[in-house]
């Protein structure tokens, strides 16, 4: 699934993306020099803690970064070869919800409370095709059935507040699929607000649908358990920078960046913590984004940090096929600087 087939261009290819926010306190560099690609049919997990830039990246892809105060300072985002940053707002609007769709953490706030969910899903068809009202509604019911909402015809008549959190998230997913050719689904913390038994149902549904519809998923999450169960490949971000990018098994077995390793180590559910009396932890906290210069942003918390790390952000190194990291002092020194 995640084999980087060199003959096939990636579905999404982000090159050197910089997103800044001009705030009253100064310039916040939320995403810095980001290169990221997603292949056809791949689930890429973008992982990191609050403020690392993972949601801003998603908003940049859909061009939903509020400008001002936001500013996509440089870079390109190629989707099937077209640079999304060059498209007009009108062209972008035809893409959103059809080829690129998004689901969010809190389905209650992303659904319109005054329309039934059937109407809201049908609206997507009506916006992107010239389907009639009745036909679009029937398609909406089909989609509700596809996302396994029981009694879909009846549920299509419900308003968002009449559904449970899990059902609302299913409705959101149905809406994201309401397109003749779904290409990329961006799922921003899709299960964070849900109970764990419901989370398992939604994750299973997403995996099934991905196979069935043949779409790619950009999964944004902070939960390494969710990553382990759903992703093909993982990109770890820290304070605006990508620090490691690897296939999922490879990252969990052989993390190179001390932050990626620390993030795995401090998860109570990770196998290495079985029977442990204390969790591995990363000392300190994420620095203020305003105060980060050219240094490695993790250098103030990193056990391996040296003057080199404080002098500048490292170049890309490779630990194996498709496994890249950005660190002067990786966990194992087998990596070859490129």
């Amino acid at each position: 699934m995640s084999d980087n087939n060199p003959t096939q261009a990636p579905l999404l290819d982000i090159q050197d993306l910089q997103v800044n926010f001009h705030t009253r306190r100064g310039l916040v560099r939320a995403v810095r020099n980001l290169n990221l690609s997603i292949n056809e049919g791949e689930t890429l997990a973008l992982v990191g803690e609050s403020g690392c830039g993972k949601s801003v990246t998603a908003h940049a892809i859909t061009r939903l970064v509020p400008m001002p105060p936001g500013d996509i300072a440089s870079g390109s985002i190629l989707f099937r070869g077209d640079n999304l940053l060059d498209l007009s707002e009108r062209e972008m609007r035809t893409l959103r919800g059809s080829k690129i769709s998004m689901i969010f953490q809190e389905p209650m706030t992303s659904l319109n409370p005054v329309f039934t969910i059937g109407t809201q899903i049908a609206e997507v068809f009506r916006t992107h095709t010239n389907m009639g009202k009745k036909e679009a509604f029937e398609k909406a019911v089909e989609l509700l059935d596809l996302v396994k909402i029981p009694a879909p015809a009846k549920r299509a008549q419900s308003y968002p507040h009449q559904l449970s959190g899990g059902m609302r998230q299913r409705a959101m997913i149905a809406m994201a699929l309401a397109s003749p050719e779904p290409g990329l689904m961006i799922a921003d913390e899709p299960t964070t607000a849900l109970d764990v038994t419901i989370q398992a149902q939604i994750l299973q549904l997403l995996s099934e649908l991905k196979e069935r519809v043949g779409m790619s998923i950009l999964l944004i999450t902070h939960d390494m358990g969710v990553v382990a169960e759903t992703a093909d490949r993982v990109a770890v971000m820290y304070a605006g920078r990508k620090v490691e990018d690897a296939p999922v098994e490879e990252l969990f077995a052989n993390p190179q960046h001390p932050y990626a390793a620390g993030l795995l180590g401090c998860q109570p559910s990770s196998p290495q913590n079985k029977g442990a009396h204390r969790l591995e932890s990363i000392d300190g906290s994420v620095p203020d984004l305003l105060s980060i210069g050219e240094e490695c942003p993790f250098s103030n918390r990193c056990p391996n940090a040296s003057d080199r790390c404080r002098a500048g952000f490292p170049e890309k190194s490779e630990a194996g096929p498709n496994h890249a990291y950005w660190c002067h002092h990786p966990i194992s020194n087998s990596g070859v600087a490129s």
Binding site: E49, S50, S164, G166, M167, D195, V196, T197, I198, Q199, A200, Q201, L203, Q204, H222, D223, M224, G225, V226, V227, A228, E229, T230, A231, V248, E249, F252, G262, L263, L264, G265, C266, Q267, P268, S269, S270, P271, N273, A276, H277, R278, L279, E280, S281, I282, D283, S285, V286
Partner: protein, 326 residues
Amino acid sequence: MSPTETPLLEARGIRKHFTINDDRGPARTLKAVDGVDLSIQAGEIVGVVGESGCGKSILGKTILRLYEPNDGELLWKGEDLTAVSGPGLKAMRRDMQMIFQDPFSSLNPRKKVHQIISQPLRVHKLGAPSELTSRTEAVMREVGINPAYGRRYPHQFSGGQRQRIGIARALALEPEFVVCDEAVSALDVSIQAQILNLLLDLRDKHGFANLFISHDLAVVKFIAERIMVMYLGRIVEQASKNDLMAEPLHPYTRALLEAFPVADPSVRHKKKQIVVGDVPSPMDPPKGCHFHPRCPLASEKCRNEYPPLKEAAPGRLVACWAVNGE
């Protein structure tokens, strides 16, 4: 747990019901906590795990009498806690503290940190002003906050540091019992690990008992010695951590464990048995065993009668007809 020892805190048949009187028809009863037994020994960490609406937070607040229980007994070192009030209750509360989920709303934004932490000492009139300062600084050092920051306000700290301040406030009185209500749920995972380690270090040093309430099974499994699983107001299973993890008995516990994402991609292809359906509304729980509509083992009896919490194996309590038989 030797049965001869008086538990630090014991609850018998605790019930907390709320009357919901809104404009959606006649008044209804929400049985948030519906007959829970619980006992905690000195220094023990007991985890309570369950999904939203299962009543775990209300349980935590009710045993501290932040909510008055509708029914049931609460014994603090063998003494009836429900009978005391006024100064007696205040004196008892010195030994019971709480750490909250949200480090933003649980600290007064208009007070400086040293005032927040020393407030409990002042409320209980412990120590002269000079002593207050030294005690406040000592407890700040213990939780890893530089005492020089005492004159700052809560908003000047990060979420993790604020949670440390909340812990310092709870520990200032050197309580014997602390309720942690989702104490690490709002924190990023690297900070969560710091706080969990800190709680364990402080427990080892001061020996307080801890009722650790969380929806996160991985966290509870890490920190607790004994685990209680709650579903719609009742305890469905209770066991030592090792027993529960080795072999969960109640179908709901099994479902929870199965649903929980494991941070290990090598086990993902094992086919999961995911429990179907939603958690029913606690306002209108299913008749009989509350879990029966989602349970793969449900029988006719489960649909009609709630199973009692019975000993299924030494030290293990389960409320399930399929496990306990008739």
